[in-house]
Symmetry: C2
């Protein structure tokens, strides 16, 4: 196994079984599927759409190689019509979506796929896999940004992320949502995301004297050095930095900050700040890490702890308090007929939909309308075409997505900017036409 492996076989077996059944039954007409989230997890007042770029890359590159097709021949039960269809398959459908960085709410589609049924079905698993994860992380990161406005926030979560792709895409999603950068070098190399790093406890421990570890570290890369000072005694180490500073500054070293990674961070930060200030290092900042989440960021800042930046790791990269979304990709229309899932507790709104957003006089979001695409409502439509005839439309840079996310966060209603769960749902109006279509479908035989 060469890993991490991906490609067109990264999907659920039933997609292929259903594809063969559709082909055998001649059901290859146009299908419309939409991706949406059924409800907000506890601890989330809004979500940020993310992952579309990866979805469009996946769709654009969807090709089955001969060795992949050979797997189906070995597996058995797949016929020649199916195998030939796979060999010719390319994604040539239409994609509509909310642009990445857009704030959205439950039952609002953020992606719509329009393609022949076998293709639209096939792509379900990977589309959910990508949109679910990046949206999850962007939404968690946005909460950190709201809890620590103006602070320097770095994604430190690669090591606890769920595998390679999660580490890389968490860097992307958190940067999109307002983080300053990541510790993951690959995210710098592949996605041009700013990369930051300090030093590890092991570096200090490998030296007999902590002071020597600081001197060696500063000499190696003298610009914007951050010393990790909690390996033994945090305040004693802060004093060592002060004592060492004249020598280092004489060698052209710039000391950016000291990092605290354990213990009572607020208490240490206050003490260390006094030591640094008394030692003439007022310009040296304090950077904190160590199991932090948005609540701890808020708590540390609410007591006025003199901290300039935070490394947020595990809780961000696994979205620890809400590690999954109730996300779905559901059939909305087949061969021109609207469709609807009616299973207990999982019913969906049918048809090709659009979301219109309304704003209050102060510019904040005041409510959305969910409607059929063919039935416009007041407000700004949020879903736009993004791929057609194998061409991506209006491709945006990560910087642009990041700007959009910042603008969206600024327009959140005040109550939704808080970490605490809102008592009331975000206002969402379902259009008359959509309600009528739903009722009509429920009267049909099955």
């Amino acid at each position: 196994m060469k890993f991490p492996a991906t490609g067109p076989l990264l999907t659920d077996l039933y997609q292929f079984t259903m594809m063969q059944a559709y082909l055998d039954a001649g059901m290859v007409e146009e299908a419309v599927f939409e991706f949406f989230v059924r409800k907000l997890p506890k601890g989330r007042n809004f979500l940020i759409a993310a992952g579309l770029d990866q979805v469009l890359q996946y769709l654009d590159s969807l090709v089955f190689s001969s060795s992949e097709i050979a797997w189906f021949e070995r597996a058995g039960g797949f016929n020649r019509r199916f195998l030939d269809y796979l060999a010719e398959l390319r994604f040539a459908g239409e994609v509509h979506a909310m642009p990445e960085g857009t704030v959205f709410f439950p039952n609002e589609p953020i992606l719509r796929i329009t393609a022949p049924m076998p293709v639209a079905q096939l792509v379900e698993s990977r589309i959910i896999n990508l949109l679910n994860f990046e949206t999850l992380i962007a939404s968690k990161a946005a909460r950190c940004v709201l809890a620590a406005p103006g602070k320097f926030l770095v994604d430190f979560g690669l090591r606890r992320a769920h595998g390679a792709e999660a580490g890389l895409l968490a860097s992307r999603a958190s940067y999109l949502a307002g983080f300053s950068g990541t510790s993951a070098v690959l995210a710098g190399a592949e996605l041009d995301i700013p990369v930051f790093g300090t030093m590890a406890h092991s570096f200090v421990q490998a030296h007999t004297l902590e002071r020597d570890s600081f001197a060696h570290f500063a000499a190696a890369r003298p610009n914007n050095v951050t010393f990790l000072i909690d390996t033994y005694d945090t305040e004693a180490a802060a004093q060592k930095v002060v004592d060492l500073a004249p020598e280092l500054l004489g060698q052209g070293v710039t000391i950016r900050s000291v990092r605290l990674d354990s213990g009572d961070l607020a208490a240490h930060a206050f003490k260390v700040r006094r030591i640094l200030d008394a030692g003439g290092l007022a310009q040296v900042g304090i950077f904190c890490s160590g199991g932090l989440d948005e609540y701890q960021l808020q708590d540390l800042l609410s007591v006025g702890a003199p901290i300039e930046g935070f490394g947020v790791g595990t809780s961000l990269d696994v979205s620890a308090d809400a590690p999954c979304l109730d996300a779905a990709y559901k059939l909305q229309e087949y061969a021109g007929q609207a469709r609807r899932k009616r299973s207990e507790g999982k019913a969906t709104w049918p048809g090709r939909k659009q979301v219109y957003r309304r704003y209050a006089a102060d510019g904040t979001m005041s409510g959305d309308a969910l409607t059929l695409e063919s039935d416009p409502q007041d407000g700004t439509p949020l879903i736009v075409p993004v791929m057609r005839n194998r061409q991506r439309l209006a491709q945006e840079s990560l910087a642009q997505l990041r700007s959009r996310a910042a603008a969206e966060l600024a327009r959140l209603p005040q109550g939704r900017r808080r970490l605490e769960d809102c008592a009331t749902p975000y206002p969402m109006e379902v259009s008359q036409g959509l309600r009528e279509l739903t009722e009509a479908l429920d009267r049909q035989p099955h």
Copy 2:
């Protein structure tokens, strides 16, 4: 960006900064790092070691290409000595580990890396990334296996897993821990894991009549068909299966099961069982899915619900109740000198360690001893050499790892087999020699 991307840049920036500092300071002697978990998360009475095979593949393939080295030149601050070292770097160190499938407990190393300091440091991030995730999933899967002994369990989590690699490795880790297979085709193609699948609601919805969807589906792949029967009315659909069965059986279709995915699964299972039995389909099983976890499996079986198998998805693939482990990779020795981290709440046991396991008369695990490798204790040593001189030692098949995990689960003490948290920690004795070494290190200056 071609994604999912991985490779030697999938690590934290500070690893490279520290490497350069080590090289500049001439600190390239042998270092020993160990990976362990500090404490069990709530809801876990034991852990199952997993991910070693991926770690060894990573170490074996660790090479920096010229384009990767060019990134450091562009980034700036890296010197020629460092760039040359990267260009020549291969992992030629030693690896010791607990074999995959072994049950382990907090503070017990499951991996030890012995290599020149810059190399041993570099590999930290990806080693934690892999071992943390696969161990997390294997441990969660083992709880499902214990909650539903003898049942057919399938990993359905790909779509909610955190990216591509997480989906693939969750299939591996859950199969290793005793699942019967996965829905992820790539896991079949790449890892020879049995792949299973049913049908989706969209397939039913795409047809005007539910009955036609069953007929089309059965015709497409007639062996071991599973019908999804909860799209509209579960019991009515069960009756449709009964009504359709004679025709299908006449066409050579074998109906394996019906799948329930929503509502009160126990209540539906009892009713559907009666309908199938009354219709002469006693041999058709009931398979359940829909947001299940180990607690729901236990509850469904404790009321005697007639269910043969379960698809477990999101809760498994993200280990939803414990989406991360407090896992660490810490320096234990440098240049022949034992080392120890002493930060508040994060102190570690120093030196190269071994774990000895003791068993009660009935064969169940009765307690472990943590000791220095040089100081054997009673019991069976769990850590063995697995890589040396660029050669893997004693490579095992996934089937062998799966057998080990099953044997290990069978030897768990009774209280630890239950889903409820054990009131007492698993007995772990720390050897006298290890305690003395720790105290001696704490008396050293720093």
